[in-house]
């Protein structure tokens, strides 16, 4: 039995886990669900030792333990099957299974490959995988690698006392129907060897596989239920279940967009390698939200519009002009601006000051024959520092040292000041505190009022509903449903969720 009692965790002042109690019995399969940001991944990291909790207790069979590293956790029988797989591609399957535990196979300094292969075969048999343990891992299919990963964790069995606890993080996200069935039957068959914690966005699978389900929201376990007879929509409501506050998203300032001015058009576009068919239209002053679960294909659409990906088929038109040259340089030159999710990597150049950041995409307007007009740049920066009330000592401040909210303001000012008419917002409020979020919402309304067209991939569903004029629900790369999102007549979370999962 593995237990967490009143576990707390804070990251840089943010309270991520607020007194979580969690228990898993031997041979049990427990589902863990929650929205992005509910604290799921932090909870898992605490369980498998990648992160240390601040308060509370971890108990293995009633005895308190502390994990300083994943290896510590493994020594107590807790193993993780990673979503982004942790096998080393250029090694053989058996080497991966016993990586870091080669000692039993070494005699006089040499590895006894036969002995290791036999041992590996025993592990692979547990997951019913019939492959040569000497195969190079990169040659396996994704599903096979997943099973190898499981076998690697199961190999702990022979090294630890007591039963194993195995975490499965989104194990089904890239598997086919048949492969999922196979995985589930393997997991069920292994119950006498281990208990499982199963994390997934797909609630139907959670209900189908688990015995009990933990629902996590805002760092708190809001419900624990028996999986048998559980209602998916009820779980979904428990996961989100927050009132949408119109005032918070400045709904009073949502003005109708201009249906006659089309800024951007995707005409039966097939995003690179996705085999889908996306058509959408963005008008001046419109906020169009792309909604879907993680990995549903929202970001590739943004990246295609910004020219970072070349579509396999179809036409993309900016202000009626078809685009042929796909590059960010081309998109920027045609008035597209991109506020990336990875603010510190793609948004802000740390080490550069405010005006240097702001003029980065528009230096041509601030230079003569390549010589920069620094005075004009500074004027511009001062103007926008005032307009957006960016909190900086001066325009010479290093943007790397600003708070997240102020960095985001600089990024927005960078595109606004360069006259971008189409702005792509990828998780624009990620990691911001409430005040900074409200500032961003207000800026989005300002931009709409100025006729800017915005495509939004929001941090939460509420945010998407609150801010947008139009919502496109995306699942498996395709647009499944369109919603009009007028003030006072906005769709509910549940309306959207139906089409998302």
């Amino acid at each position: 039995m593995f237990e967490l009692v009143n576990v707390e965790k804070r990251y840089m002042g943010v309270h991520v886990l607020k007194g979580v109690d969690f228990r898993i019995d031997d041979g049990e399969i427990v589902g863990l669900v929650g929205e992005n940001g509910a604290g799921k991944s932090t909870l898992m990291k605490v369980i498998y030792g990648a992160v240390q909790h601040d308060a509370g207790t971890l108990l293995v069979d009633g005895a308190p333990v502390s994990f300083r590293s994943p290896r510590d956790a493994m020594k107590r029988g807790v193993g993780m099957v990673y979503q982004e797989q942790s096998l080393i591609p250029n090694l053989t399957v058996m080497e991966n299974i016993f990586l870091g535990f080669e000692k039993p196979f070494v005699r006089f300094g040499a590895i006894n490959w036969k002995k290791m292969a036999e041992a590996a075969r025993r592990q692979l048999a547990k997951v019913r995988l019939d492959i040569d343990p000497g195969t190079i891992t990169a040659r396996l299919t994704f599903a096979q690698r997943q099973l190898v990963e499981l076998a690697k964790v199961l190999a702990l069995e022979e090294r630890v006392e007591g039963k194993l606890v195995i975490l499965l993080d989104e194990p089904t996200s890239v598997l086919s129907r048949d492969e999922i069935e196979l995985l589930f039957s393997v997991v069920r068959a292994l119950r006498h060897r281990a208990s499982f914690i199963f994390v997934s966005h797909r609630l139907d699978e959670i209900v189908a596989l688990s015995d009990r389900i933990y629902v996590l929201k805002d760092g708190v376990v809001v419900d624990v239920m028996e999986a048998k007879g559980a209602d998916i929509s009820a779980i979904q409501k428990k996961m989100v279940g927050r009132d949408i506050n119109g005032e918070y998203y400045r709904e009073d300032r949502q003005a109708p967009y201009d249906p006659d001015r089309v800024l951007l058009e995707l005409d039966h576009v097939e995003i690179a390698g996705q085999g889908n068919d996306i058509s959408l239209t963005l008008h001046a002053g419109e906020v169009l939200a792309l909604v879907g679960v993680e990995g549903s294909g929202r970001e590739p659409i943004l990246r295609t519009i910004f020219g970072m990906l070349r579509p396999d088929r179809g036409t993309l038109r900016i202000r009626g002009e078809p685009v042929h040259a796909f590059s960010p340089a081309h998109s920027v030159a045609h008035g597209v601006g991109y506020v990336p999710r990875e603010r510190k990597v793609e948004g802000i150049a740390s080490g550069m000051n405010v005006f240097e950041n702001m003029t980065l995409p528009q230096m041509r307007n601030y230079s003569h024959a390549g010589v920069l007009d620094i005075r004009a740049e500074r004027d511009l920066a001062r103007e926008w520092i005032g307009k957006l009330s960016i909190k900086v000592p001066s325009e010479y401040a290093d943007c790397g040292n600003l708070s997240g909210g102020n960095q985001q303001k600089v990024v927005l000012a960078k595109w606004r000041s360069s006259g971008s008419e189409i702005i792509l917002l990828d998780h624009p409020t990620r990691g911001l505190d409430i005040g900074a979020k409200e500032d961003v919402y207000a800026m989005i309304r300002d931009m709409s009022a100025h006729g800017v067209g915005i495509i939004l991939v929001a941090d939460t569903l509420e945010e998407a509903i609150g801010l947008s004029h139009t919502i496109a629900v995306i699942k498996d790369g395709e647009i499944k449903k369109w919603f009009s999102c007028q003030p006072k007549a906005k769709p509910s979370l549940y309306d959207l969720i139906q089409y998302m999962v």
Binding site: M308, P328, V345, G347, I348, S350, G351, P361, V371
Partner: protein, 296 residues
């Protein structure tokens, strides 16, 4: 250091001595300034020495035919070598220390081929005619020193006041943000390498004019002090901060250290050990480890 030696011998600090000291390092300074651009964007150029070698040979060979034009020819050759390094690094995605090593090998071959593997000499009259102005003095200051300072000023202007310089800085801060700002980042990375090649060729040209000749090994021993000058000056290997003026200071430090060692009768071999160790210390103290996820 300067003062330390100065205390031992007051003549060391005399203006003439200091000017001579500075004039001695002119080729090194120019090479280091060029290399600064590449390190500033987070790369490295290991071809500078070979490019300079090549250009001493080419300058000597071209002098009788082209006169002053030999200078332009040589600089163009350096530009080409640097551009090749840049293209190989960015388009073919070969790490810069390998691509510049390879281009250095090619430049060395060209130098050896052109020279027939021997030291060449410039005809004194021709040299005087074409590049005599370089070796003269104005008010007691060597023209080469003035020229070098003018080049540093130009490089500094490019770095701080011109678009490419600004983009170099952003590239040093991180390439993704440059691409996401709609800038064709590759072009500017190639430009940095091209500038480095050009400056290396210029360094070779000035060196060959001063020594009145060329050979494929003339500039041997320049690479280490040039890298040291950039890094000790305060442009870290990860790029983004520092720059041309830092390299000016770095070169001065190198010059003073060299002169002092000479003064204290420390053999030239000791210099190499000393600079090697200094280089490690300089890298270790200036490198921005937040930019390196794993150190390979």
């Amino acid at each position: 250091m300067l003062l330390l030696v100065g205390m031992r011998d007051i003549n060391f600090l005399s203006p003439e001595n200091l000017i001579n000291l500075a004039a001695d390092v002119v080729p090194l300074l120019i090479m280091a300034v060029g290399m600064t651009f590449v390190i500033y964007i987070g790369g490295i150029d290991l071809s500078s020495q070979s490019v300079a070698n090549m250009s001493t040979v080419l300058a000597t060979i071209a002098l009788p035919t082209f006169g002053v034009g030999a200078g332009i020819l040589v600089i163009a050759a350096g530009l080409v070598a640097g551009t090749v390094s840049g293209v190989v690094t960015t388009r073919l995605k070969v790490p810069s220390f390998i691509s510049t090593l390879a281009v250095g090998g090619i430049a060395l071959s060209v130098g050896q081929y052109a020279s027939g593997q021997q030291a060449l000499h410039m005809d004194t009259a021709q040299r005087q005619h074409a590049f005599g102005w370089m070796t003269g003095q104005v008010a007691g200051v060597p023209v080469s020193l003035i020229l070098a300072l003018a080049i540093v000023a130009l490089a500094w202007f490019i770095q701080t006041r011109m678009m490419p310089g600004r983009i170099f800085k952003a590239l040093g801060a991180g390439e993704p943000v440059v691409v996401a700002s709609g800038i064709r980042a590759e072009r500017y990375r190639i430009l940095a390498f091209a500038l480095s090649g050009m400056f290396a060729a210029l360094a070779g040209l000035m060196f060959s004019v001063r020594l009145s000749g060329g050979s494929p090994t003339l500039a041997e021993g320049f690479l280490l002090p040039a890298i040291v000058a950039v890094l000790v000056g305060g442009t870290p290997l990860t790029g983004g901060v520092g720059g041309v003026l830092n390299t000016l200071i770095g070169t001065m430090i190198v010059a003073v250290v060299r002169a002092s060692m000479l003064y204290f009768n420390i053999p030239a071999t000791g210099q190499q050990i000393f600079f090697g160790v200094v280089l490690i210390i300089a890298i270790a103290t200036t490198i921005d480890r937040s930019k390196m996820r794993v150190v390979k």
